[in-house]
């Protein structure tokens, strides 16, 4: 195992993040604050509480999930796509590094960045609402698993993408809508029955529900199902990466 290589990739990627820390860190703080103003203050003044949780607090887990999912996906996809784009990936391919090590380095860094952003958003929300976390360990576990699984997904997207449009396609077209429609800012119990049934097909819904349970012990679906859903998703991503590893798909001609 080439641990040195994993370390090098990880810190090289993290360095990119900290080099642009103003954008990297400030942007999520600002956008979170905006969400609080729009959803918390404007809408929250009409809706008192959802399932016994004040609306301002209710949206916190959804907000964190929204950022964490999009950030880990885009960080990981960009991290591997960029060297492909500039051609500097030659070095990774000619190094004594296997695909597993490369994945750990890139995905690990992307997940770490997303985790940092998630924690910053959590910190920011304390300025706006009163928040108590019922199950801190479960909360951290859900957060970590989400960062990791979506970074894996992003890694696959980055390998697949042939241009910058494709790189943004899946996050824009699939992930963001799924997060918005997955109950980030409302409880599915507020929806008409038809839409409730459709939401059950949305995988992101299970993650948000589980994550929210860790905060408020209130969930749309049982927490065990949430855990199973994220496990299946992570497993699928790992299987796809293992296949890419074997075939060299889009990486090694």
């Amino acid at each position: 195992m080439n641990y040195q290589a994993i370390r090098s990739i990880y810190f090289f990627e993290m360095a990119r993040f900290f080099r642009t820390y103003r954008q990297s860190l400030l942007a999520p703080v600002i956008s979170t604050s905006l969400y609080f103003v729009v959803f918390g203050a404007a809408i929250g003044s009409r809706i008192n509480s959802v399932e016994g949780v004040p609306y301002g607090a209710f949206i916190v887990p959804g907000l964190i999930m929204l950022s964490v999912m999009t950030q880990s996906t885009s960080n990981a996809s960009f991290g591997i796509y960029f060297p492909k784009f500039t051609g500097s990936i030659y070095e990774l391919l000619s190094a004594p590094v296997n695909f597993f090590e490369a994945t750990v380095g890139y995905v690990g860094a992307a997940a770490t960045k997303a985790l940092i952003i998630g924690l910053i958003i959590l910190g920011t929300s304390y300025f706006f609402v009163d928040l108590t976390i019922a199950h801190p360990f479960a909360m951290v576990a859900f957060l970590l698993l989400t960062c990791l699984s979506f970074a894996l997904l992003g890694f696959i997207i980055g390998i697949w993408a042939g241009n910058f449009e494709q790189l943004n396609l899946i996050p824009m077209l699939i992930i963001t809508p799924l997060v918005f429609l997955g109950g980030s800012f409302y409880s599915t119990s507020m929806l008409p029955p038809v839409w409730q049934a459709i939401t059950m097909l949305n995988p992101v819904h299970y993650l948000i529900s589980g994550f929210r349970w860790a905060f408020f012990e209130q969930a749309d679906v049982p927490v065990g199902i949430s855990l199973a859903a994220i496990a299946v998703f992570t497993g699928l991503c790992l299987a796809a990466i293992a296949w890419i590893f074997r075939t060299g798909w889009r990486i090694r001609q």
Partner: protein, 309 residues
């Protein structure tokens, strides 16, 4: 001594179905500088990429210090440094960090003293904290070399090290390569320029259409394949080649004041003596005679044209 790089019947077909390597066999000895010489699209980059692990071979084998590049890819690749043809670099990184990263990627612990020594050797030391995008093209090429050498490889591949580099920098690159050779690194470089192969290499492999056409020591190649020409300066200019000399391969040059005779040094009889005799018989006086060996370029062109014919 066993060759440090052994390429055996290597074939590579791209996904498009195009066969870029058609059974390449080549042994590279430790410590030598070998030039892969060939026109655009000959398969030089494909050959290097396949040895280095960037593309997968379709069939055939390659070993580096006895390690198979597929089965023992870790040991094989640890021996190799690659300087690619394109200036593919992370533009926003500093020189120092980029080189450190390369070393780490090859599993070697961080060693700033070594990296700085390398940068000094390549004349990059005063740029070590510059962003790569702020460097000139020639400097970027050196950064690529520093990156390739950061893990102390025994074999260095240089894919067109002097492409797009001015004459001054080209000479400079030759000097860098010469210094690397003194440290015992085996060097494989590709080039379109004969003068470059002539200046840098010990041996030359001519590659064309995915096949190695010949591999020979530079000196032997020039001697064996070379044509020589003799320029015979005449005291009085001629309007045309005299009929008595027509059966020789001669032509008038310098407005008729000299005869140019091309002959093959490999032939048993060069024909020089009888030409000079016939010259005298025809009543021509010569003032001087000079001979010149054809350059590799002419050899190379001859080889490829001969093949097409």
């Amino acid at each position: 001594m066993a060759p440090i790089v052994k390429v055996n019947d290597l074939r590579k077909s791209y996904d498009s179905g195009f066969e870029a390597l058609k059974g390449v066999t080549l042994d590279i000895e430790e410590g030598e500088i070998i030039a892969l010489l060939g026109p655009n699209g000959a398969g030089k980059t494909t050959l290097i990429s396949t040895i280095c692990g960037i593309t997968r071979p379709t069939s055939g084998t390659v070993t580096v210090s006895g390690h198979d590049i597929i089965k023992d890819y870790r040991q094989a690749r640890s021996q190799i440094g690659l300087v690619p043809q394109e200036l593919s670099l992370e533009q926003f990184e500093t020189v120092m960090n980029a080189v450190r990263f390369s070393r780490g990627l090859f599993g070697k612990p961080n060693d700033d003293a070594l990296v700085e020594k390398l940068l000094r050797q390549l004349g990059l030391h005063d740029k070590k904290d510059s962003k790569i995008m702020a460097l000139s093209g020639g400097m970027k090429r050196r950064v690529l070399i520093a990156k390739a050498l950061a893990h102390e490889p025994r074999v260095l591949f240089l894919d067109e090290p002097t492409a797009g580099v001015d004459v001054e920098l080209r000479k400079d690159m030759w000097r860098v390569v010469d210094e690397l050779r003194k440290t015992g690194v085996t060097i494989i470089l590709t080039t379109h320029y004969i003068e470059e192969a002539e200046a840098m290499a010990d041996r030359i492999a001519v590659i064309e259409k995915g096949q190695i056409r010949l591999v020979q020591g530079k000196v032997e190649l020039m001697a064996h394949l070379g044509k020589k020409e003799a320029i015979i300066h005449l005291t009085a200019p001629l309007a045309e080649v005299p009929a008595s000399l027509a059966h020789y391969n001669v032509e008038l040059v310098n407005n008729g004041s000299a005869l140019r005779y091309v002959y093959d040094v490999r032939a048993e009889r060069t024909g020089i003596t009888s030409l000079l005799n016939d010259l005298q018989t025809a009543g021509l006086q010569m003032s001087d005679i000079e001979t010149r060996q054809s350059s590799l370029e002419e050899i190379f062109v001859g080889l490829i044209e001969g093949d097409a014919a």
